[in-house]
């Protein structure tokens, strides 16, 4: 058993176990434990990130659908508002036209009435003027003042004459 390749060396055997166990303890404390924990935590981090990304994607899709719905709703509303305001404007236009027409009519009617009143007034004025003038003419012609009764009858007569003349 002189061959150094198969020499039994209990010292080396024990040194190996000691060295290995010390290395295991040191690496376990300072390298493997934190490293394995870091691997696990990164595993979790990646998983959570992917989950979050999925969630965000779904949320985005939901928001997009929401906004689409809101936009189409708003479009419908706008259309109805436009239609409503158009019909209201139409109605208002009709009302205004009606009112204007009525006003114009009343103006015309008033004017006609006034014209009539004025005409009648003018005629009455003319009539009294004519009486005065005839009186003046008559008095001048007669050169004397007739009695009141005579005057009256004379006036009646003249008036009748004028009336008939006019007629």
């Amino acid at each position: 058993m002189d061959n150094p390749l198969i020499q039994v060396d209990p010292g080396l055997f024990i040194w190996t176990i000691l060295t290995f166990l010390v290395l295991l303890g040191l690496l376990g404390k300072f390298a493997w434990k934190p490293l394995l924990a870091a691997l696990d935590s990164r595993h979790e981090l990646i998983k959570n990130s992917l989950d979050d990304a999925d969630k965000a994607k779904q949320e985005l899709e939901r928001l997009q659908q929401d906004s689409k719905a809101i936009i189409s709703e708003a479009r419908v509303e706008a259309q109805s508002i436009v239609a409503k305001s158009r019909s209201e404007a139409e109605k208002l236009k009709g009302e205004l036209r009606q009112k204007a027409k009525e006003e114009a009519d009343s103006i015309v009617r008033n004017a006609e009435k006034q014209i009539q009143v004025e005409t009648e007034k003018a005629i009455a004025e003319i009539r009294s003027e004519v009486v005065d003038l005839s009186l003046l003419v008559a008095s001048r012609l007669v050169k004397k003042n007739l009695s009141r009764e005579d005057n009256q009858s004379l006036i009646e007569e003249s008036l009748e004459q004028i009336e008939s003349h006019r007629a």
Partner: protein, 304 residues
């Protein structure tokens, strides 16, 4: 070193040189003398020193890069950390998890990881001719005495995993871990009961129990032999092929013959075998790690 020994002995003895390169340095001429305790010589030989170097290297590199990575504000692995993390994740998810299961994953992953990195580094260091370069430097420049620190460092191989004592120690750790894992999962009595399936006729147990106990011991024995023999074998092959240079020089009494053989045959072949050795280095570290995880898993998840 080869040239040095050749100079001393006159004729070149390939066997002596090769054994000197793969075996441990002599316990009678250790690098550091330590007292004998309980009949065990604890002196630091070359292989003990290499164990410490491997352990120190691993501790510094792995702890430093892990701590640096963890101190970052946003933990994004870069460079070496990427590779380390990929290996760690592979070992945890593809070696430990399938055999041990999720419940005891975090208990046994550190052990299996340390096994893998320790064996891989110890295997790989053996492929790097650090001490051969130091020997050459010493031969031409330093001329250190045989008993000096450098002289002592030059004796013995660098591959600790090619020493049966080292691999036996590692396999012993596996052996103890198997029992510990079984005890943790099923209780101390439960673990030993799991050795043989229950409910068989009693004569079967007379045969079965010795077989199971043998099997229990064969597992670490196989681990010991496989790793040490593989790591020794490759180195012996490389050194034998490189020995052709000196054998042919001696044979033809001409350095030119040796150099010729070296250029044409020995160096190309040694390069090819070294390339093969790189694969062996990784495969053996992987196999030891995988089997340790599988054995621990078998003690935890018992199948009959």
């Amino acid at each position: 070193m080869i040239a040095e020994q050749e100079g001393q002995a006159g004729a070149f003895d390939a066997g002596e040189v090769i054994i000197g390169h793969v075996s441990n340095s002599s316990i009678d001429h250790p690098i550091i003398h330590l007292p004998t305790l309980l009949g065990i010589n604890f002196s630091v030989t070359k292989h003990v020193l290499m164990l410490w170097m491997v352990a120190a290297f691993l501790f510094i590199v792995i702890t430093w890069s892990t701590q640096k990575y963890l101190k970052q504000e946003r933990p994004i692995p870069t460079g070496f950390m990427n590779a380390l993390e990929a290996v760690v994740q592979f070992i945890r998810d593809s070696i430990v998890l399938p055999s041990v299961g999720r419940k005891f994953l975090n208990v046994w992953t550190p052990l299996v990881l340390t096994f893998f990195f320790f064996i891989l580094t110890a295997n790989a260091v053996g492929l790097v001719p650090i001490f051969e370069v130091l020997g050459l430097f010493n031969h031409f420049v330093l001329h250190a005495e045989h008993d000096s620190m450098i002289g002592l460092l030059l004796h013995g191989g660098t591959t600790v995993t090619s020493n049966f004592n080292v691999t036996a120690a590692l396999a012993t750790i596996t052996f103890v871990s198997i029992i510990a894992a079984g005890t943790q999962a099923h209780g101390f009595i439960g673990h030993w009961k799991n050795l043989a399936p229950p409910g068989l006729a009693w004569p079967v147990y007379i045969i079965l129990i010795p077989i199971e106990i043998m099997g229990m011991l064969v597992k670490p024995f196989a681990l010991t032999m496989r790793l040490a023999a593989n790591m020794t074998g490759g180195h012996i092959a490389i050194l034998s092929i490189l020995s052709f240079v000196f054998i042919f020089s001696d044979l033809f009494h001409s350095a030119l013959a040796g150099v010729g053989v070296g250029v044409v045959v020995a160096v190309p072949l040694a390069v090819a075998i070294s390339a093969l050795e790189i694969i062996v280095v990784m495969v053996q570290a992987y196999v030891f790690t995988l089997l340790t995880a599988v054995f621990i898993g078998m003690a935890i998840n018992v199948h009959h």
